[in-house]
């Protein structure tokens, strides 16, 4: 999920959001956000027109645009060649394309393997993979959102 897809929530380039943005589905963000973004177990792609002044928390974060703020990507953070990031990164894995600009620190966390008591690790991992996601929703909590026509 590193480019626009019709089957994920999409915030277009004319949308400006100020406040708390949270959700329980993958999100493609090509607009502007000022505040906080919290997707926890879902993925976030900040498109080439995306302008974010916020701390970001998501499962995987892919950045094409500009971000001023700290990024927590639980599984992975990826900076594409057009990315401009001023802020700290906390993640398990990081991928940075040549040409990306990054100013900040990086904390790499080792993956945590949670094993149910009395069950082999392989079964626990298989169970985690088949876990079905809850009904999707993306919300801008306490936020003011404006859409400008170009």
């Amino acid at each position: 999920m590193d480019t626009y897809r019709a089957d994920v929530a999409n915030i277009g380039k004319s949308v400006i959001i100020k406040g708390e943005l949270s959700g329980s589905e993958d999100l493609y963000l090509d607009g502007e956000v000022e505040g906080n973004i919290d997707l926890r177990n879902y993925n976030l792609v900040i498109g080439p027109n995306g302008r974010v002044r916020a701390n970001v928390h998501a499962k995987e974060v892919v950045i094409h645009g500009k971000v001023d703020g700290n990024i927590t990507g639980v599984d992975k953070v990826e900076l594409k060649k057009s990315a401009l990031l001023n802020g700290d990164i906390s993640t398990q894995r990081i991928v940075i394309e040549d040409g990306a600009f990054f100013k900040g620190s990086i904390d790499i966390h080792k993956a945590e393997v949670k094993v149910d008591a009395g069950r082999p690790a392989t079964q626990a991992v298989a169970a985690a993979k088949t876990f079905s996601a809850p009904a999707p929703s993306v919300s801008a909590v306490g936020a003011s959102a404006t859409a400008e026509k170009k």
């Binding site: 060649k81 940075i96 990306a100 100013k103 620190s105 990086i106 790499i108």
Partner: protein
């Protein structure tokens, strides 16, 4: 020290687009090997990389159990926001005060080691001394600094490379944005510039590069 600077009138050159996906040239580096030995233990050190952003470098540093910091000083130094009119008509220079107020901003003695690569050779002249002084301030006592310097044989058109860490002995060089080599330091100039440091070791590198390992 102003060998090449005069050729370009001290102007700030806007870098052209990076050579995306360029080939990587491996180069063995005694200086980097010594630097790695200096930062091996203990875990949890804070290492500042002042070159172009490289995931290889981040992976290498974090793989040693350290925390990686990145700041592309050369890109910041050549940013258009820092350009101010120079002394000569039509010329531009860099706003040093603004650079120091917005860039390389860390608490004193924040870092256990700093990778400076060959950034110093490409920095606009007004920034050389202030940047070296700022690096000294933000490095811990006994902290290491690795810097590379071109020899005169490199020539004015020596390309700017991104340095990617491949292993403790080997670096990979990849042609980066087109920054202009500003000057060539003699050993004496290097010693003067870093005179506050406790020790300085020179290593003869390949392809007209001297490697310098300094300890604060």
């Amino acid at each position: 020290m102003g060998f090449f600077r005069n050729l370009f009138g001290g102007r700030i050159e806007t870098p052209s687009a990076p050579d995306e996906g360029g080939v990587r040239i491996p180069r063995r580096s005694t200086g980097f090997n010594q630097f790695t030995r200096a930062i091996l233990r203990p875990d949890g050190q804070r290492i500042l990389d002042l070159g172009s952003t490289s995931s290889s470098n981040i992976n290498f540093i974090t793989g040693l159990g350290h925390r990686a910091y990145n700041e592309d000083v050369l890109m910041a130094a050549n940013a258009s926001r820092l350009a101010v009119p120079g002394p000569e008509e039509g010329s531009t220079t860099v706003d040093v005060e603004r650079f120091l107020a917005e860039d390389l901003l860390y608490e004193p003695e924040s870092f256990d080691a700093v990778l400076f690569w060959d950034v110093c050779d490409y920095l606009p002249e007004p920034l050389v001394k202030p940047v070296v002084e700022r690096i000294y301030q933000i490095t811990k006592p006994h902290g290491a600094l690795l810097a590379f310097f071109h020899t005169r044989d490199a020539g004015a058109e020596a390309p700017y490379y991104r340095y990617h860490i491949k292993s403790a002995e080997t670096l990979e060089l990849q042609q980066g944005p087109h920054f202009q080599l500003q000057r060539v330091f003699q050993n004496r100039h290097v010693e003067n510039l870093f005179h506050d440091y406790n020790s300085i070791k020179f290593f003869l590198g390949k392809e007209n590069i001297r490697e310098v390992l300094l300890v604060r």
